[in-house]
Symmetry: C2
Subunit: 275 residues, 2 copies
């Protein structure tokens, strides 16, 4: 069966979106659609222009016998700004205030459309770097980790507080929690990562950075390299930060429990210098 261009465009768009950051040889499409490579190239030009025009992402063509085409999710700055503003307006609602000045954000972390966009924002920031693994710590950062992982098409590993029989042999470290100054433990299955892998660490919330710093130390135990840190919300604090090189979308300045107000601004996403 020979496919019409219009049908090819729909199916090709689907296939590319489902396989981000993966090189797809043109022969894959030409055999699948029983069409000449020249027609497939023309199709891909249309897809590429539309993806770029609409801020869906980039379509990178790699020439040569081992070449092909690769979809790179990349969000435009104005859409990133929209995501940040959505987060700020959601997080500044006073009913999110919890005793002790904490903010309730579990609902946002469980919202699939929002978290899909947050993941795409971070995947965009790291789109031209080699990332092999996304790491987070249980439980609240997991949805962000999986969303970034989906857009970069790499696996997620989840660090735990306790050792479970279903994890097999584990590597465990102790670290000092930033705010409470208590010694805590982190555990990761030995099979999670191979030495030399480049790891992007993510979490939903960062204050002094104790937990993130713990994950950095854990990377060393695996001979892995830190590729970057991505946090949804960072909180202003008086202590010295344990982590300095990170991206954040939102910054929490002050929580006033008496007036029930929450002061939030944009995080460092746009102000941080890109590598």
């Amino acid at each position: 069966m020979k496919w019409k261009r219009s049908e090819r465009l729909v199916d090709m768009t689907y296939y590319l979106l489902e396989h981000p950051h993966r090189l797809i040889p043109l022969t894959y499409f030409s055999e699948l659609y029983n069409s000449a490579k020249s027609s497939i190239s023309e199709d891909l030009t249309i897809v590429k222009e539309t993806f770029e025009e609409k801020g869906i992402g980039l379509l990178v063509t790699v020439p040569g016998a081992a070449g092909g085409v690769k979809y790179i999710p990349k969000m435009k700055d104005d859409e990133v700004q929209e995501v940040i503003q959505t987060l700020i307006s959601e997080l500044s609602k006073s009913d999110r205030l919890l005793p002790g000045g904490y903010l309730f954000m579990t609902d946002l972390l469980g919202n699939p459309e929002l978290i899909n966009r947050v993941g795409k924002v971070f995947a965009s920031a790291f789109s031209d770097q080699q990332i092999d693994v996304i790491m987070t710590v249980a439980t609240k950062g997991i949805s962000i980790a999986h969303s970034i992982a989906k857009h970069l098409n790499v696996p997620v590993v989840v660090v735990r507080r306790d050792s479970k029989v279903t994890e097999g042999s584990t590597v465990s470290i102790n670290y000092v929690s930033g705010s409470s100054r208590r010694i805590q433990t982190m555990v990761l299955s030995k099979r999670s990562m191979k030495s030399g892998q480049r790891v992007l660490i993510t979490d939903d919330f960062m204050k002094v950075g104790g937990t993130l710093n713990g994950m950095k130390n854990l990377l060393e135990e695996f001979d892995c390299e830190l590729a970057g840190i991505a946090v949804l919300v960072e909180a202003e604090h008086a202590d010295e930060s344990l982590v300095d090189d990170y991206y954040s979308l939102v910054k929490l300045h002050e929580v006033n429990e008496k007036d029930r107000t929450i002061a939030l601004t944009e995080g460092n996403y746009f102000s941080k210098e890109r590598k």
Copy 2:
């Protein structure tokens, strides 16, 4: 700017895939692309036919003034079979055997392409039911829950073993763990669900069903209704099951620690009667 049909098809496909189970009025597209509704209708017919032909899903048209079009992710049976066979072949590798007859499957739960497909399988099974929330328990079921949630476009709530300050007021229940017969606790933030919501429960592994049964009991505390249960792997066991109405993709029959073999078959996904 007027869009060409080819460009509209690419962008429309992207938009529909990003917003499953949501009714999109035709005027949304006709205004966005500055095109007549009749042209948009023709575009949608092409998208619909390609989605159905390739097993991407259904495009349901709702007529009338409040009408529009809705993308329903729906995987064809042969692709579901492929997902199941991939899982069986992965899980039967002898190096997954852990002391005590447990199977290592954390890597599969962190694999974005595989989990995306698993989520689509379950979303397909429940595509014509009203589902308001996906519920799971920390930690290993979270990736499956988020993948189902993405395909059904509904939020995820994560039950925890312990109460955290960032969850606000919580509802807590005690339940009997199926295999160890110990009393355990489950905690869920009070704001997670509203009374009357229909909840799909999911987890990575089920033996007697103690944890799933605990989540069922938790639903009652919230005056919510059980819409269904979806598990990746169910294990054969001698005790009486605490849960009977569920979908599973894979069934674990026997683990032979001496010979290092794992006996797996297809779960009940195809044999279970559909509602």
